[in-house]
């Protein structure tokens, strides 16, 4: 039985040789590690694009890794990896606020600078939170835009990514709060999950449309949900009669926005979010960004306001037929 053993060893040796020669010599560039909620989500991929640009401008090395589907346990593992690797900055979009904070505090203890972006961690486990918009702001913008589209009265339904994702629950909470506060003539009739699958979102939306004949709008707060719901509305022949809007990426929704099926897609410039995060992270590492600062200048994007420890990107942005072609992510 020497053959299998020899084969294992030979394969291992080849792999070893190729990988060692391929790995670069130790360099003295700053290393910034960026953790998305889920690597496959186009939203975070577009954040990465901005982050890559910033990393190149600043001459730092960017590590970008995350779970393939949102998973708090895996996020922790990856942060632990980075700690033992000794990176200089860690920027996280936390799937679970408390869970990730233990690992982040450990990182801070070892002198690694920690930032949060997109979804915050506990206040004492990171120096700053790069906030694209508060969940409250997002929820309100969503609800206000929805109300505007239906004339402030009527039934609407919501499609979420998953029933367990923390930030989705937060947005939903603020949408419902805004609904109660300002739009008494509107009613939320159903909330259905789509498991972040476009096809399932389509099936759910089809069922929603048929179960609620008085439905006037579908709000999808996960990015695969918007094109899925739009396709359902289109196939049901209700384009224009039932409005579609939600949180999503311009590229996935362009064709629906142009054909009038989807009215608004709300987001923020995710590339800018990534860009700002990297700039802030590097500034932290170089001790240029300190606690108590009131503003921060990030490369070509200009100045940003800082409120307490929140670095604000700005208000959510509404993409519609008029401007969606200007964006490519």
């Amino acid at each position: 039985m020497k053959n299998p053993l020899l084969r294992f060893c030979a394969a291992g040796a080849v792999l070893l040789a190729s990988l060692i020669t391929a790995s670069a010599a130790a360099d003295s560039k700053l290393i910034v590690a960026m953790l998305p909620k889920s690597k496959g989500n186009a939203y975070f991929i577009s954040c990465k694009a901005g982050a890559d640009k910033a990393a190149k401008e600043l001459g730092v090395q960017l590590l970008f890794d995350g779970p393939t589907d949102s998973n708090a346990a895996k996020q922790n593992e990856i942060v632990e990896n980075w700690i033992t690797l000794g990176v200089d900055v860690i920027a996280v979009a936390a799937e679970n606020k408390e869970g990730i904070s233990t690992a982040l505090r450990k990182a801070q203890k070892q002198g690694i600078k920690v930032l949060a972006y997109d979804a915050d961690a506990m206040a004492d486990s990171r120096s700053f939170f790069v906030n694209q918009a508060t969940p409250q702001g997002i929820g309100q913008t969503l609800m206000d835009e929805a109300a505007r589209l239906v004339g402030e009265e009527g039934e609407f339904a919501m499609i979420v990514g998953s029933l367990t994702a923390a930030n989705q629950r937060e947005w939903q909470k603020y949408v419902e709060a805004r609904l109660k506060e300002k739009f008494p003539k509107m009613k939320l009739v159903a909330v259905r999950p789509c498991d972040d699958l476009k096809d399932k979102a389509q099936s759910e939306a089809t069922a929603l449309l048929s179960a609620n004949p008085k439905l006037k709008l579908i709000m999808a707060i996960c990015s695969p949900g918007v094109p899925g719901a739009a396709e359902a509305v289109k196939q049901a022949g209700l384009a224009g009669k039932v409005k579609v809007m939600g949180l999503g990426l311009p590229n996935e929704n362009k064709r629906y926005v142009h054909s009038g099926v989807t009215d608004s897609v709300i987001l923020w410039n995710t590339g800018d979010l990534g860009y700002l995060t990297i700039y802030a992270g590097v500034a932290l590492a170089k001790d240029e960004l300190k606690k108590g600062a009131k503003s921060f200048k990030a490369g070509s994007l200009g100045s940003f306001a800082i409120e307490g420890d929140n670095l604000l990107l700005g208000k959510p942005f509404i993409f519609n037929q008029g401007n969606i072609d200007q964006f490519d992510f």
Partner: protein, 362 residues
């Protein structure tokens, strides 16, 4: 393996052969594990910009590997007796999730002290295992389909009870100690893992129960005729699996500091891979705890070692590569395990005849 008169002598030789083959599988796995470890040590350790040695070759990292592999390791331990009886349990990952949130609920909503909540959770795990056991033994239903159903059911119950989104957090410090701190030099959960491994190992290799499991896996009807209480033994393995899944749930919750309905998603696949990698035959009848432990170690080292390689980090592909390689490793291991059978079939008959002549000297 031909005439009945030669049967005793041949089965003796065959059994000797089998034992040698088995040891060889685990030895092979051990070589692979060592080779992996050495490879990642060399390629994955370096000195970072602060002059600190980081990467695979640090104590911190090794302890992290140990810490992270406890839950999957426990599930693999739970599955080993099940697979030895030629059964399978796909529901252990979902049961981990259900037990985790029930533990959180008992403590948080029920106001029970942590030890009581833990005890009740273990009871629930055993009960859930009993559900599988009853369906499999009393109704003689195939384990694959029963546990496929409970895989959905347990996860569904977890999501329904938490309405999908409730997460239990803010556990007290001395509970989190189990998952996040070290005790007497090793991560705390490692001690729990070692105890369970010892217990299951003793059960499998030193008691009559273990022999019963193997016999049931090889020939359930024969076992019944030989007077073994087959149903009771089968029920035991599934209840045990449920109990161990509950222990894993508690450790998971302590490690992460949160109890959420999606806990343990996908763990059963890694656990089964570890068990099969370790030499336990999915057809039942053979298997060792040592093999399972080696299998868990091999996968854990692979997953964590890959994440330490600079090349993988640059590609941002640690997650995919470890999944890919684990799948590939499983295929290779499976193929390698049947290779001797195929090779021997390809050899000309003459050699086969010679091999069946029992040795002259004892």
């Amino acid at each position: 393996m031909s005439t009945t008169s030669q049967a005793p002598a041949i089965s003796e030789a065959a059994r000797g052969d089998w034992r040698a083959l088995l040891t060889r599988h685990e030895m092979l796995l051990l070589y692979v594990l060592i080779a992996e470890w050495v490879f990642f040590y060399i390629a994955g350790t370096s000195t970072n910009r602060r002059g600190v040695v980081v990467g695979f070759g640090t104590w911190d990292r090794q302890f992290d590997i140990l810490r992270h592999s406890c839950e999957i390791g426990l599930l693999a331990l739970a599955l080993t007796p099940v697979i030895i009886t030629a059964g399978i349990d796909l529901s252990v990952g979902s049961l981990l999730g259900l037990c985790a949130i029930l533990f959180g609920k008992l403590w948080h909503d029920g106001g029970l002290p942590i030890p009581v909540a833990m005890g009740l959770t273990l009871g629930i795990g055993a009960l859930a295992g009993a559900l599988n056991a009853i369906l499999i033994t009393a109704l003689r239903l195939p384990p694959l389909i029963v546990t496929l159903g409970t895989y959905s059911l347990f996860r569904g119950l977890a999501e329904a009870i938490t309405r999908g989104s409730i997460t239990y957090t803010d556990f007290p410090e001395n509970f989190l100690f189990i998952g996040q701190e070290r005790w007497l030099g090793l991560p705390t959960q490692a001690w729990i893992f070692i105890s369970v491994a010892l217990a299951v190992g003793i059960l499998l290799h030193r008691t009559t129960f273990g022999r019963a499991f193997r016999t049931i896996g090889l020939a359930p009807e024969g076992a019944r005729y030989a007077g073994l209480p087959v149903e009771r033994r089968l029920a035991l393995v599934y209840v045990l699996a449920g109990l161990i899944a509950a222990i894993a749930a508690i450790i998971y919750t302590a490690r992460l500091g949160q109890a959420k309905a999606d806990a343990g998603t996908g763990y059963e696949l890694f656990a089964i891979t570890a068990v099969v990698l370790g030499g336990t035959s999915i057809f039942g009848g053979t298997g060792t705890i040592a093999g399972t432990l080696l299998g868990v170690a091999a996968i854990a080292v692979l997953k964590n070692g890959l994440a330490c390689l600079p090349v993988v980090m640059r590609l941002n592909a640690a997650e995919e590569m470890s999944g890919l390689l684990t799948g590939a490793l499983l295929l290779v291991a499976l193929t390698a395990s049947v290779l001797p059978k195929i090779l021997s079939k390809l050899r000309p008959r003459r050699h086969t005849t010679i091999r069946t002549i029992p040795p002259l000297s004892p």
